[in-house]
């Protein structure tokens, strides 16, 4: 599970939006710079991202599930909310963890935290897109069964 999230974020995120050092810190480099045995931030943020995305998807498609909120621009609204929330979660968690202390051999900046926020936001968007594209889940909805990113 941990390696899954690590692989995911490292593959798209590290180097592009934030430094490798931030990647090491998020992977769990502990405060004594011994090994990746510290808080596994990738896994935490990854789980939160998945759950938030699922939850926001479920709100629109299953909990509220009304014909007045099933058009594609409504989905875009929810996607934007999801993006924003995940950006905030990732940025806040990352900067808090930096404040609490990190391996002194790494150099971390605020831009790294924001970059991670952006990366997490993009991943949340991707997941949201995928979930709404797979028919199997949507089919259980009453009014939103055919609502995807492209239509109606």
């Amino acid at each position: 599970m941990k390696t899954l999230f690590s692989g995911m974020y490292d593959w798209f995120g590290t180097y592009l939006f934030y430094s490798k050092d931030m990647g090491d810190h998020l992977n769990g480099m502990d405060i004594t710079c011994t090994d990746f045995i510290g808080t596994p931030w990738y896994m935490i943020v990854g789980f939160i991202m998945l759950i938030l995305t699922l939850f926001i998807y479920a709100i629109q498609y299953h909990i509220y599930d009304k014909s007045r909120f099933n058009k594609k621009h409504h989905l875009w609204i929810m996607m934007f909310v999801n993006l924003l929330l995940n950006f905030l979660v990732a940025t806040i968690l990352a900067s808090n963890s930096v404040k609490e202390g990190y391996c002194s051999e790494l150099s971390l900046t605020t831009m790294d935290c924001i970059g991670f926020g952006i990366s997490n936001a993009i991943w949340s968007f991707i997941f949201h897109f995928i979930i709404t594209s797979i028919t199997v889940f949507r089919r259980l909805s009453i009014n939103c069964r055919n609502t995807t990113f492209w239509k109606p």
């Binding site: 490798k20 050092d21 090491d24 769990g28 480099m29 502990d30 405060i31 004594t32 710079c33 011994t34 090994d35 990746f36 045995i37 510290g38 808080t39 596994p40 896994m43 935490i44 789980f47 939160i48 759950i51 938030l52 939850f55 909310v81 929330l85 979660v89 968690l93 202390g101 391996c103 002194s104 051999e105 790494l106 150099s107």
Partner: protein
């Protein structure tokens, strides 16, 4: 609004649930420390239990193969952790199961051949230094009993289990006359014999200290060169034999005192001399004993100071050196995974700037518990790398966050390749030995240079050194696996 609450709830739950085992343990340790600024036996035991009972793979580094705690690894980690969290706590504040006081006896052998008389006439710095040294040993609490002896051809026991008053007597009442009175054949210094005798007294429970001027006396009709060679070989054999049976460590300390008396040169010609003369204190013991002495900085606190120090260590059972590969500074690139396993992975040379085509990395090494002086480890000629294309520089560690490590080694090469790089600290005879060694002491009265030297010292030290380092002179070894 509801979303915010749910978000906070999620975060709290998750960060609460996802605390790693290690975090739980370290948080508990912090709790212990904030309570009473130390970790006592019970608290230590509870932490140990938590580690033992955990299945988390990240805690395996603290466990031996039989699941028991690796004491020193764990303690080191705790100290590093506290330091990183800015909590001031020293190693002594953490309860250690090895606290049993391993006391040992100290047997002091003062060479009292006639050449030593000049050191004890009147009040000399020799007397002051030795008196204080012995006194320090006594009050340090590391010795069970302090036994004082004179030695020339034989051992003349002066005081078994000396008390402070006895030490005073042993030293302060030293006058040539007392020396004479206290006995023995004071004519010849047969150093080899003296060494053999003293070495015999050294064991797990007994440390021996030999104080002398260590001047060879070949004699009138003897070829000095041959004599020195023979002595050297003899000493080497004696030491080698002892090394076979014991983890013998030898510390040589060069001091200086004012001398007023008769100096006997290589031909045994008496020369009147008044001025400064070197003398030596040799300490013999096993690793733990010498470590203890080092720890207490007894030598460093000698009244009047010392000129040089040398420690000879056996290389038979190589000890693991505590070192760490740092993420930064580096030249080129490599990833952080595997550093803790002493592996540099995905290494790449620098591809731009003034360091183009170079590759370099930094090691933080802990020589704190090592027996040589800190400056020994700063000398790059005392190191050897398996790949000669690596350039090594050593400096004292001033980074407070790496307080567990004493030195920073920087390695750089222009030719990066995948290999297992071995970095060794070598045991070498330091330069001062050679510059303190004299080949001809006949002109000592007028030769200022000669006055600082000791005749034949080189042969003496080389003999001992051969015994130690002929097979291998690797004191410490570090292996780093580099993969491109």
């Amino acid at each position: 609004m509801i979303k915010n609450l749910l978000l906070i709830l999620c975060v709290v739950l998750l960060t609460g649930c996802l605390e790693t085992e290690l975090e739980i343990i370290t948080n508990k340790a912090i709790q212990f420390v904030t309570n009473d600024n130390k970790i006592d036996a019970d608290e230590y035991a509870s932490l140990e239990k938590m580690i033992k009972n955990s299945d988390d793979s990240s805690l395996d580094r603290f466990k031996k193969s039989n699941k028991h705690l690796k004491e020193d690894v764990f303690r080191n980690y705790l100290i590093k952790y506290f330091k990183a969290k800015n909590i001031t706590i020293t190693e002594n504040d953490i309860w250690s199961p090895n606290n049993k006081n391993k006391k040992f006896n100290i047997n002091v052998f003062l060479e009292n051949s006639s050449s030593m008389d000049g050191y004890v006439k009147g009040i000399t710095s020799f007397e002051t230094a030795i008196y204080n040294l012995l006194g320090d040993f006594k009050i340090s609490g590391i010795c069970d009993s302090l036994n004082l002896n004179y030695i020339n051809k034989q051992v003349y026991i002066q005081n078994k289990n000396a008390l402070s008053a006895d030490i005073e007597d042993f030293i302060q009442k030293l006058e040539p006359s007392t020396f004479k009175a206290r006995g023995g054949d004071r004519s010849v210094s047969d150093l080899e014999n003296i060494f053999k005798t003293v070495l015999n007294t050294v064991n797990k429970k007994n440390v021996s200290i030999l104080v002398s001027d260590f001047v060879f006396s070949p004699g009138k009709n003897v070829n000095a060169q041959d004599y020195l060679n023979n002595q050297s070989v003899g000493i080497k054999i004696d030491f080698a034999e002892k090394l076979n049976r014991l983890d013998l460590h030898t510390m040589v300390v060069k001091l200086e005192s004012n001398f007023n008396g008769t100096y006997y040169d290589k031909k045994n010609t008496p020369i009147n001399y008044s001025g400064k003369r070197p003398y030596y204190v040799w300490i013999f013991g096993n690793r733990t004993q010498i470590e203890k002495i080092n720890e207490l900085k007894i030598i460093q606190k000698i009244k009047g100071g010392y000129l040089n120090k040398l420690v000879l260590q056996p290389t038979k059972n190589k000890r693991s050196t505590d070192f760490k590969i740092l993420i930064r500074p580096k030249i080129g690139e490599f990833i952080s995974d595997g550093l803790n396993k002493k592996m540099i992975l995905e290494a790449e040379s620098e591809n731009s700037g003034q360091n183009k085509q170079s590759f370099g990395f930094t090691l933080a090494v802990n020589f704190n518990k090592e027996l040589q002086d800190q400056s020994y480890y700063l000398n790059k000629s005392n190191y050897s790398t398996s790949n000669k294309q690596y350039e090594l520089t050593s400096e004292i560690n001033i980074n407070p966050s790496l307080s567990a490590y004493s030195h920073i080694l920087k390695l750089k090469t222009n030719n990066l390749s995948s290999e297992s790089l071995q970095i060794d600290v070598l045991g070498k005879i330091p330069k001062w030995v050679y510059s303190s060694s004299s080949n001809d002491d006949s002109n000592i009265a007028f030769d200022l240079d000669e006055q600082q030297k000791t005749f034949g010292l080189k042969y003496l030290i080389e003999g001992v050194s051969d015994a130690y380092y002929s097979k291998s002179n690797i004191l410490n070894s570090m292996k780093v696996l580099i993969k491109k």
